[in-house]
Subunit: 356 residues, 4 copies
């Protein structure tokens, strides 16, 4: 058991605080013989990187990943892969207020309640900075999964505004700072975020991740379900408050007939006539696209002052200063993609272990 | 790692198929010295039991639990607690069709894809019958949690019809077969289910579980988050397709100000002015009520014939015969309560282990 | 984490007390499609069974195993395999003394120190009766390993008397009640045990288990070493006090040259000129025979009165009455074989999971 | 599951190769609020450090530990503690021969058999260099255990020469390069090692570790036994071939009466009249000293040429050049002490988790 480890056979352990010297991850159980270099991982980190548009926090980190172990002559050896990312833009001076006050919606209070004290600098261990190492682990996972499994993510809603699904193009999502898959929706979201940022407020968002090419048979029954692990993976991302697979909460409104995902004979195995189950039946992949959506709450750090208490239990007014994202969901797609990749490779190995 | 084990310190391993001689669960890591008898567990099993109203499957099981180990003179000893429930009403003759055909929305196809064959009798391991042992484990978990932590569940939506929240009374939920907390909503849902059953169709539902009295500090950061474990726990229940905590997907539509859960000084520690975070901040309990909702898809077993294929890959028409629930969500509340109880006691022990 | 679970991918969870209604085991992660019936498991239980010769405890148990799940039409399904063995000859009346007194060398005192009380009947959870389920799990493991891997065990020392190794014949070990591989040694050990039993005393023993046919490459570096798992497996057997691999403690007296296990080219891969490493190098199998020896202390239950204290802390004299083994090691070979089989199949699956 | 992780609640994950840029360890589950600085860890690393006497390998490493996370204002925060040690004296040029040849007694061949290739530089992941991070983790474990638990180790045998036990003084063991607790034995061992080194040969050794002050009640029955975890911990150390607890293999030669560890009433709880069980009964600590001995084989790297094969399967003669230890056991005591400390703190937390 480990609070900071994810996965069973492809298993990564994350460490590091927002304002420590570095963050990092150790990946254990990676199969041997796969090509891996820093250049392969770096683009995924760049895609998650803060400071790249006006819509996200202005903290500027190079996020240069270093491979410290587990790779020899550019190939994975089967030994643990240690990845390290230095913290270069950690402005500790900004956070003196946080030391004594509990920011509403943040983990400040509960860390003190649990541990007796906390590393308050930039949120310490609770900072979204930790998600960089998930992205790094996900990049390794993608190498093992290979090109036949394609994982892509997009924002499908910001605040009250869903994406125009009839205009969905994956290439578009990869080309704008909001991971918006619709060129028609993009300007509306941009205006919304500009307005929100100027108002010192924040918005929630929903991210949808799709994995194609996953063969039928990954996952396991009962407590090792692929979707149970996906739910855990997504809910572990900071600010996540909901996860759904396939039709998800929308399935509640369907009749059994509408929801059925009927099957027909295809050229290469069965073909499904719909995908309300999101590629998972009984916890096991069906060969259809795996579709998972995660809801992120609005950023808790807002410029509007809020009521709270301090460490002594006294009532105070808290106002966030400095850098923040008006919508944390905007940066969540690369993280959710990475978590999906890690869950998939873990279940690929688990399936191979049990079933050969 | 174990596909059929849930939890870390309070850890239960489930076994059994729908039509085998019995199902059961082994609970390891239970603290010693707690009162435990079959009479304490049985009422929870009775609450989940099928065959008790016209709204649920007519399979009739006594669901009599036997304690085989881990208890001495009515107290837990710290040794593994083995609980066994015999299958008495397993009608294997009903399921000959399933052996060769894949029922849409069921796990038939994926089990064959994964394992090469399957125990098709009554759904085998994928049957909802397995959930009886979760309820039994949950009953043990409640003994460890004690009376100060109260866990209650209710249905909050069937199909398109949400409960009338202004009329919510927990006592009401405990008194009707639909776990409906509103006397005003109940007749509408009953009529809806009657209609659905007669039409041979099915409906989805949303279940809400609330735990009160959980102290601040349970849970852990990053991958050991209380809400990540809750998401996994709920998504592992058969037919679950979505999980949300607190405001959940609704939080997406809130502004940062609306969602903030501001804090004030109370008589016994902090008081929160709202609970959009559902009692969990940064993966750790805040002392507020823990609120989790799970979406269940409409029962896949419907009387309307559906298109599918058989084991040979040939196209067939599949029609479910025999007993089924028109809305599996109706029986889900005791199961979801049990899973929440198990997650809580696990984190109680994990917190105590690390923090004393 | 689980105190009562062994293994990672082939993983079994044991439950039950000496004088409860039954004992049992749940095996999770078993590969699907393997032949398994009660008749396949039973002979291994019979080999371990007490009451079969004058040299072992006269408790008489049928040890009839029942398969409750995970098998369909005589083949493993991939679902958890629940095995149950009823306790039929549990004479609770014999053990009233134990309730209040701490038998020297037994776990009575430490169970009370840890849990506050204990199930004292027949040693409760600490009884060697638990080892029956290890043997059952081992029988399943052997089915997965197949005929190419042969596992055999023998006693190599009782008290001060080592076996005559020049007279070693495996068939002999299978044919006598002492697992003695030498017809020349057997009568000496029998006389020794008769004398010991009559004196109300007891003796220690060393058991040696050999696995042939294990391919090179199973195991893993650092903390997942095959020999580290073997050491844990063997030391977990009641009364075990030492474990060694290959030359073991004897390797200390060898020079580097003597201990080297040089390699030559063979017809089917490398040939080793000796096997001081006992088939494991760097934690990974080398293709040689795996050789592990376990030392068992003399049975703690002896008829000679001993000094001790009771639950109140008062000084008492303790004398074991009733049934006991003069040398627990005599019955240990089938248990140690089973543990080796389980470790091997676990590492077979682990290797396949990571390396394909 | 993780091949490179040790422990359950106090859980560390090791990474790094002999000739990579660094090695390190991530400790998860450490209790919060304990004093921890690099200065506290460093002395333990210095005690293990190679290059400090003529009896050990002349590789010179500073072994300067850096704390990268999990500590704030010199106190553990409960977040994962990442420790990093740079490799500064990695002479890759010495190891070109190893790339193509399999050194007898080393893991070269089995790594190739398992992974298809290997990082051959200095033994890669199989190098004893990894043990530095165990020592670092052990230093953290000692902080949690506190001063009341004292852990000390000594060599008790080199080759055929046991220590003079009547002359045992712990202070002596701490003051010489051989961890020899007897001033009378020391010169004999030194002469023996000098002779062995000059001959280009090597010797095995036995290390004994004792932990005092461990309360009764740590550990757990069946597969979570304290001694089973100790056996695994010790056997995972490079070159270990045997482990024993208390009287260990010697218990085989004792009668039940001699081995009994009778109990009497003491001023502070029970007093034992002997400690043949080495402080562990039924897998649970008894309050006596915990005594564990580990046998290390003679160093496999010897200057005498040996027969082997190369990667192509051709027969070759292998001769180790460069730096090596004539007796790896000489450096093993600090490592074994560290592993014992880690097992103890893990079980301290496990006990607290289950039993409060």
């Amino acid at each position: 058991m480990s609070h900071n480890t994810f996965g069973k056979l492809f298993r990564f352990t994350s460490w590091g605080e927002s304002h420590g010297p570095a963050i990092g991850v150790v990946i254990d159980g990676c199969p041997p013989g796969y090509l891996l270099t820093e250049d392969i991982i770096q683009p995924f980190l760049n895609a998650r990187k803060p400071g790249t548009s006006r819509h996200v926090t202005q903290r500027r980190e190079d996020d240069k990943v270093k491979i410290l172990s587990g790779v020899f002559e550019n190939r994975t050896t089967g030994a643990p892969i240690s990845l390290l990312i230095e913290n270069t833009d950690a402005r500790s001076r900004d956070y003196s207020d946080i030391a004594e006050q509990y920011r509403p919606g943040h983990a400040d209070y509960v860390y003190d309640a649990k541990y007796g004290f906390r590393d308050y600098r930039g949120g310490g261990r609770a900072s979204a900075r930790e998600t960089a190492v998930r992205v790094a682990a996900g990049a390794v996972a993608r190498q093992i999964l290979g090109d036949e499994i394609r994982i892509a993510g997009a924002l499908v809603q910001i605040g009250e505004y869903p994406v125009e699904r009839s205009d969905w193009r994956w290439e578009e999502a990869a080309n704008n700072a909001l991971c918006c898959p619709s060129a028609a929706t993009l300007p509306k979201w941009e205006a919304l975020l500009d307005e929100t940022r100027k108002a010192g407020s924040s918005l929630g968002a929903i991210v949808e991740i799709v994995a194609s090419g996953v063969p039928a048979g990954w996952g396991a029954p009962v407590y090792g379900k692929l979707d149970a692990d996906l739910a855990s993976a997504m809910m572990s991302i900071p600010a996540a408050k909901g996860v759904e697979i396939g039709a998800g909460f929308g399935a509640v409104r369907l009749s059994g007939e509408q929801n059925a995902d009927e099957m027909r004979k295809g050229e290469n195995g069965p073909v499904f006539l719909s995908n309300n189950n999101g590629g998972v039946l009984g916890g096991i992949s069906s060969g259809q696209d795996i579709v998972v959506r995660t809801a992120f709450k609005p950023t808790s750090s807002i410029l509007t002052p809020g009521q709270s208490i301090n460490r002594k239990g006294e009532e105070v007014e808290v106002q966030t200063k400095g850098r923040h994202d008006p919508c944390v969901g905007v940066r969540a797609a690369p993280i959710a993609e990475a978590m999906l990749a890690c869950v998939l490779v873990d279940h690929k190995l688990r399936h191979r272990g049990q079933c050969g």
